[in-house]
């Protein structure tokens, strides 16, 4: 199968606009959580779109389009993709899609009647709107669709994109995830599930953790057939070495307590990469700060990595930006790539009182250098685990 290269990354996160902004600020110990949420306050749609474009895109699509522009610029695609249009696709994950549009239009339906619901309601709220909008903006005419697997969607999208390139279905795919669910219904629904932190703090793996912090944002990566990317002289940021996806088939929301499903996905991803546990230099944990996830994920890491589990540095991006739901897997893949490239491990912030049995190296407190022996490139794992039991794992290697 063909090798898959990452040639561009872009992100809009609660820490600001830009992929490097995310990693730099997280590494500096900044936390973008205020009032129990993590919104993208620095994102102004009108810096990116005309009024017409802005009103024709739900916020989740706007975040995706802005991230895509950054990623495509970095890949050198500002003037168009360097492939035949129908050989380039866009596969984008989201947990919920345009829920803001849905809620607004439900209000219209309730208050003004069915004849006043906006003609734009469907094209804005559909979960494939982000991928369709990126395709239309950048004239991508290959495989284009949305991926839906709750909080694993961003990673599942990257996995699908990777396979499409490996198998030759496309030469390049713009991929990632996007979410904008800081809306009244989504807030109430997650709160009703008792999944959200009542303390308003994200502190993964800490004994006091009491739920996740809802965030919003997007992450987009340009993936290309590595041989063609090299041939055109592109700067290769990383390689997607392996992917693994499984399902717990256990419970609507709770993970298997022993983390067996997540462990199987990690093992599958390493096998797909042709690597061993000993080759893993860093794990970007799903690390939601919920009691159940952080315990099950710790078990999964121990099962999948064996003797290596105790020695590998692990950190959670959600400690800085909360949980970006369907965007999390993509944003965290980007954070992983930058960790591996810059050899700076950003910490698990807020972790002060380790929980009993959660005894791995979660890099608490402050950043740490990633030590890699000379002549070798760093390898990392990014875990994404979603409601519904979805487990999606990426093995990434700095280029």
């Amino acid at each position: 199968m063909r090798e898959v290269a990452v040639t561009g990354i872009g992100a809009v996160t609660p820490l600001g606009v830009g992929a490097r902004t995310l990693h730099a600020r997280w590494a500096a110990g900044e936390v973008a959580i205020a009032g129990g949420e993590a919104p993208c306050t620095a994102f102004d749609p009108l810096e990116f779109f005309s009024r017409k474009e802005a009103r024709r895109a739900d916020r989740f699509t706007q975040l995706a389009l802005a991230s895509a522009r950054e990623a495509l610029d970095e890949a050198g695609w500002a003037d168009g993709a360097p492939y035949e249009a129908d050989r380039v696709g866009c596969i984008l994950g989201t947990g919920i899609g345009g829920i803001g549009t849905l809620e607004d239009n439900f209000g219209v339906l309730r208050d003004q009647g069915p004849e006043r619901v906006a003609p734009l309601a469907v094209p804005l709220m559909m979960s494939n709107a982000g991928s369709a909008a990126i395709a239309m903006r950048h004239d991508l005419r290959g495989p284009v669709f949305g991926v839906v697997s709750a909080c694993a969607a961003g990673a599942n999208a990257i996995a699908a994109a990777t396979r499409a390139i490996q198998c030759g279905d496309a030469d390049a795919i713009v991929t990632g995830g996007s979410e904008a669910a800081l809306t009244p219904l989504a807030r109430a629904a997650f709160a009703a599930l008792d999944a959200v932190s009542t303390a308003g703090v994200s502190r993964p793996f800490d004994a006091r953790r009491d739920g996740f912090i809802m965030g919003e944002g997007a992450g987009v990566l340009v993936l290309e057939d590595a041989a063609q990317a090299r041939a055109r002289g592109a700067t290769i940021l990383a390689l997607v070495r392996g992917i693994g996806a499984t399902c717990d088939a256990h419970h609507l929301t709770a993970p298997r307590p022993d983390g067996a499903g997540a462990a199987a996905a990690m093992t599958a991803a390493l096998r797909d990469a042709g690597l061993e546990a000993a080759d893993v230099d860093y794990v970007n944990a799903h690390g939601t700060s919920t009691p159940l996830n952080d315990r099950a994920e710790t078990m999964a890491i121990k099962t999948a990595l064996g003797d290596r589990a105790a020695g590998v540095p692990i950190s959670s991006t959600k400690s800085a930006i909360g949980h970006l739901l369907g965007a999390a897997g993509a944003v965290e893949a980007i954070a992983t790539i930058l960790t591996l490239r810059e050899r700076v491990i950003a910490p698990t912030l807020g972790l002060e009182e380790p929980d009993e049995g959660l005894d791995l190296d979660y890099v608490p407190g402050s950043s740490r250098a990633l030590d890699i022996s000379a002549g070798r490139s760093a390898v990392g794992i990014s875990n994404s685990l979603g409601f519904g039991g979805h487990n999606a794992v990426l093995v990434l290697e700095a280029a």
């Binding site: 009103r55 906006a118 003609p119």
Partner: protein
């Protein structure tokens, strides 16, 4: 629903709607075509809702195919109001 619909009022509502849809204010004239204003069928469906709200006029999708300019839609609304 209003039936007191002078031409100025219709133009005002239509022009303001087109601006809301994203057309440049300076470009919106009676002679401007929807094509040049980048106003498409989704915008016209929304304009039809506004016309019904403001003037009690129904604009059907079969009507929309005949509408090429801003003046066309103003005249249609005026004729039916």
């Amino acid at each position: 629903m209003s039936t007191t619909t002078d031409t100025d009022r219709i133009e005002q509502v239509v022009f303001e709607s087109l601006e809301t849809f994203g057309a440049e204010k300076a470009d919106i004239t009676r002679d401007a075509t929807f094509e040049t204003l980048d106003v498409d069928s989704l915008d016209l469906a929304e304009l039809a809702q506004i016309a019904e709200d403001e003037f009690g006029v129904k604009i059907k999708s079969s009507d929309v195919e005949q509408l090429k300019t801003v003046g066309d839609v103003c005249d249609l609304i005026a004729a039916r109001a």
